[in-house]
Amino acid sequence: MTSAASPSSDVKLSCRNIWKIYGPDPNQYFTNRNGNIGSDEDASKHAAVIRDADHIVASANVSFDVHVGEIFVIMGLSGSGKSTMVRCLSRLVEPTAGEILLDGSNLLDINKEELIEFRRHKMGMVFQNFGLMPHLNVVDNIAFPLELQGMGQDERRKQAQEVIELVGLEGRESSFPSQLSGGQQQRVGIARSLVVKPELWFLDEPFSALDPLIRKQMQDEFLRLQRELHKSIVFITHDFMEALRVADRMAIMRDGEVVQIGRPVDLILNPADSYVREFTNDVPWELVLTAGDIADTSRKRAKGMGQISKNTNVATLLPYLADHEAGVVVLDENDKDLGVVNARNVVAALASGVMDPAQVTE
């Protein structure tokens, strides 16, 4: 497990050494409730031992932090334990061992009433198969969490109306789930998860059941919502491209273990092993790599060079570089000079996936 640079904001949710074992007697494997087995290697060995004893290891020693306002993506193949992980975070599934710290206090210590209170106010979740109440219309589905809190009908409908506008479902208020398309149903699911104004927002493969075109559109809307709302998000997907689009940082899981955590570009440029590289192979890098990722700090700017923001992706940059042999200066948000990029850097980075252009022999 390699760790990577984290954003500067505070940690909202932190999970430490989470284990989830299914089987006849999972508890026998843990003397220590905090799930700390030792080094990553020790943990892997421990997981292997448990597996050999005919238990299913759905999560093994998973640790990561989610920062305030961050979109943290968990990515992995089917059965790798993504859903289990996010269900542990919401305690829909009780972890066998480990700690989940929310704003510094352990979520696993609170009792049932507190948990219900917590879910009613701090947490929202979106499901792959929507999970809409078939007997309630759109408004009442969205207002359902408020109804459970005992809020009066007028008040909760009013609040539901606000999120309905947020997700663009105006006019469908009195439709029933069976009358809506998949995309519209998921909008209802999203609205329902937002109606309690949660701080934590969990999405378990929210767009996997949708057509590719609708999926793209929903991803855009999701990003737009997040720009407005600044939630702390755990987003599950098995689609690497989706992960790249939405993630601030992401974790890749295999057989219940986290293989690598980092920014998308870190994973692309420095895959931890062949499993991660498998995903990155098909990635259209020119869309993912930005000028900032490949800026060559060792070169100095020359007179007459153009300037460009560090977020410009390589695909946009290449035609320009083709005509400008010397390259272009890369600037960050504060117009600070990050270095220079020329066509040669770009080609080298695309071809080798090596981040440091200085290693490219000329």
Binding site: R87, S90, L92, I116, E117, R119, R120, H121, M123, G124, M125, F127, Q128, N129, F130, G131, L132, M133, P134, H135, L136, N137, F144, P145, E147, L148, Q149, S174, F176, S178, Q179, G189, R192, S193, V196
Partner: protein, 687 residues
């Protein structure tokens, strides 16, 4: 399912059967079960019951007294309500459940009840149903929730339901009659007991098939346990629960009608029965028609609610309906105070077509006597008698026109052996042995076959279809029949039911195949079998008993009419719901329609068809008991006698015997279907 591995056992069975039959010698105890080995179970059972009644009788009497009040209340209310008001209420219900057409049907049905002069009797029966349905639903729902919550409770409840649903309806009445004494409570209690199991099943099924995502969504939304149950699980299971209500309602009505057999109640079931006994078939048919209408109406209304789309429900399409109905009720009630016609249907307007019908029937029977007799006699001589007493006795100059000389017997044996040899040579050894066993049984007959051979036949069949467990179960069950001394009656029941089931199944399968191939046939057959299925059992008896009088032939026809329903339904369903890709690929391979049916569709539909056989058997047994009313011999008759004499032991041993036969037949046929399903990788459910 290869017979070959079990073949030696079957051959042994054949040989032993023949030896025992022709040379019983010292083994006569194996041919006819010796009386000395029959345990007198009836006396101890009666003693135990007496002891129980002595001990708890007052308690049950008290409960019965309590239960009488709601019935009296309901009957009083329904009697008080002007018929016009009742009509409006039912029409409104029908409209809310389904629409105008059903409302119209409700109106016509209720008008029929009024103008045929059976209004009070109809309302009395309805009152018991109205009281028993909520109680059965309450009991069923409670058990259902319990079974859903606790796996252990479910393991306890399920076999109990199996038992309750296989014990023939008649047999319920006896202990209840003894405990509660004569009166309307017997109908109520027995109908609750008979009607609550489907509610339990549907409750468990509905609650546990709510999608896990929905539950998680509820939890995440912050639902506590109570909210999770009432606001998520219950609404999501609504339709399944209402389907339970529908089935419970139908079972309740059916039992209320059956319960009127104990008499003393002024209800519509009693009307049918007493007129039937007096051979007033016109009256009996008219009253039976009331029951039929009531059954269809209750079924359509409750089914309408169960399958209703939620959109219609809450989209507010009929928000004003309750107001209109309330207004109509009040107005009609007030009007009926001034216009007596609206309150009580006037005597003068009662139509009585019964005498005319009786006359017409007499004429019909007179005119067609020869044809009817021919039908009846040929069925009797060439089918029923041979099965019952064997070719050896059934063939006589009087019946078949010639005597069964030793030469003929030899020819019969030779033909059978030749056919078997031919089958054997075409590598169908199993079929050869089956043919020989069948031939031997046909010659000797069910009633004359050595008991040990019949027992061995069923044990072997159980062993082959399912395995050791069922074989042991079958041996024990049949052992009980022997020891309890009801073997001869059981064999008689087996004979009648067996013949009926064979005919129903063959005929039903053919009709099902036909209906699967033709939309027209299907659209004609469907409503008929739907109606037959909702009919309380003894209504089905009426037309047959009218034409053929009492007797086994009438019973046979009635059983066939009822048991043919699942055979048709499952065959058609099985053939119509095959995987489309298989049919397409077979068609592209160049199958003709005929080949498609014989080589692709039928083999694939076999599990469904076998499940149809299973249900045919169950339906057949259900009807068999009722046919005791038209004078059949066998277990049904003993239950009936027990009921008449209040003899708990006699009735109960027969009732248990019937349940045993039903369970064995159910398990054997079900495991055949299961095996086919597993082999084909298909899954079938009871429709």
């Amino acid at each position: 399912m290869s017979k070959s591995s079990h073949l030696p056992y079957w051959i042994a069975l054949l040989i032993v059967t023949l030896i025992l039959h022709f040379f019983p010698g010292p083994f006569s105890a194996l041919v006819k079960y010796p009386d000395s080995l029959v345990l007198g179970l009836t006396d101890p059972m009666n003693d135990a019951m007496r002891w129980f009644v002595d001990l708890f009788g007052p308690l049950f009497k008290a409960i019965g007294w309590l239960l009488e009040w709601p019935i009296k209340l309901a009957q009083w209310v329904l009697a008080l309500l002007p018929w016009s008001v009742t009509c409006v209420i039912f029409m409104a219900l029908a409209y809310a459940a389904s629409g105008w057409r059903l409302a119209l049907f409700a109106l016509i049905s209720l008008l029929y009840m009024a103008c045929i002069g059976y209004w009070p009797q109809s309302m009395n029966s309805l009152a018991i149903v109205l009281i028993s349905v909520p109680m059965a639903i309450g009991v069923g729902f409670a058990f259902g929730v319990w079974g859903f919550r606790s796996a252990r409770a479910k393991r306890l409840i399920m076999p109990l339901l199996d038992l309750l649903q296989t014990i023939p309806a008649f047999a319920y009445l006896l202990p209840i009659l003894i405990l509660f004494g004569f009166g309307t409570t017997v109908g109520l209690v027995s109908s609750i007991l008979y009607a609550f199991p489907p509610m339990v099943r549907n409750t468990i099924l509905g609650l546990s098939s709510v999608s896990p995502t929905l539950i998680e969504a509820g939890e995440i939304s912050g639902a506590n346990d109570r909210q999770l149950f009432w606001k998520v699980r219950m609404p999501a299971a609504r339709n399944q629960l209402l389907l339970g209500v529908n089935q419970t309602t139908m079972a309740s009505l059916s039992m209320v009608i059956i319960a009127s057999i104990i008499g003393g109640t002024n209800d519509i079931g009693w009307e049918v029965l007493s007129t039937m006994r007096k051979a007033q078939f016109g009256e009996s048919l008219l009253a039976g028609f009331v029951i039929a209408l009531m059954a269809m109406l209750l079924d359509r209304i409750s089914y309408g609610f169960a399958t209703q789309d939620r959109r219609q429900l809450s989209a507010g399409s009929k928000p004003k309906l309750p107001h209109y109905v309330a207004a109509a009720v009040v107005i009609l009630w007030l009007l009926s105070l001034v216009i007596p016609f609206l309150a009580v249907w006037p005597e003068a307007l009662v139509i009585d077509p019964a005498p005319a019908m009786n006359l017409a029937l007499e004429n019909f029977i007179l005119n067609w006597r020869i044809a009817l007799e021919t039908i009846k006699n040929s069925a009797f001589f060439f089918l029923m008698l041979p099965v019952k007493i064997g070719l050896s006795q059934a063939v006589s100059p009087f019946t078949w026109g010639f005597a069964l000389t030793p030469i003929l017997v030899a020819i019969y044996a030779a033909i059978c052996l030749a056919a078997a040899a031919w089958l054997y040579l075409s590598r169908k050894a199993g079929a050869a042995v089956a043919l020989l066993i069948f031939a031997a049984f046909a010659y000797i007959s069910l009633t004359n076959i050595p008991w040990i051979a019949l027992l061995a036949l069923f044990v072997l069949l159980s062993y082959q279809t399912s395995g050791t467990n069922l074989a042991i179960g079958t041996a024990l069950g049949l052992g009980f029949l022997l020891v309890a001394g009801v073997w001869p009656q059981s064999v008689l029941s087996l004979y009648l039911c067996g013949v009926a089931v064979l005919i129903s199944f063959s005929l039903g399968t053919l009709i099902g195949i036909w209906a699967a191939g033709s939309a027209l046939v299907s659209s004609i057959v469907r409503p008929i079998i739907d109606t037959l299925q909702t009919m309380p059992l003894f209504v089905i008896l009426i037309p047959f008993v009218m034409i053929f009088k009492i007797g086994e032939f009438t019973a046979l026809l009635a059983i066939i009419a009822y048991a043919i329903v699942p055979a048709i339904r499952y065959t058609e369903h099985g053939l119509r719901n095959l995987p489309a890709d298989i049919i397409e690929s077979a068609t592209t391979l160049g199958c003709t329609q005929r080949q498609l049916l014989m080589k692709v569709k039928l083999p694939l539909a076999l599990p469904a068809i076998m499940l149809g056989l299973n249900q045919t058997v169950i339906y057949g047994i259900g009807m068999l008991v009722i046919t005791a009313l038209v004078g059949t011999n066998g277990l049904g008759q003993r239950i009936y006698i027990g009921l008449g004499d209040g003899d708990f032991g006699v009735g109960m041993t027969a009732g248990i015997g019937m349940a045993i036969i039903a369970i064995i037949a159910d398990r054997i046929t079900q495991s055949v279907s299961l095996k086919r399903q597993q082999k084909l990788g298909l899954k079938m459910d009871i429709l």
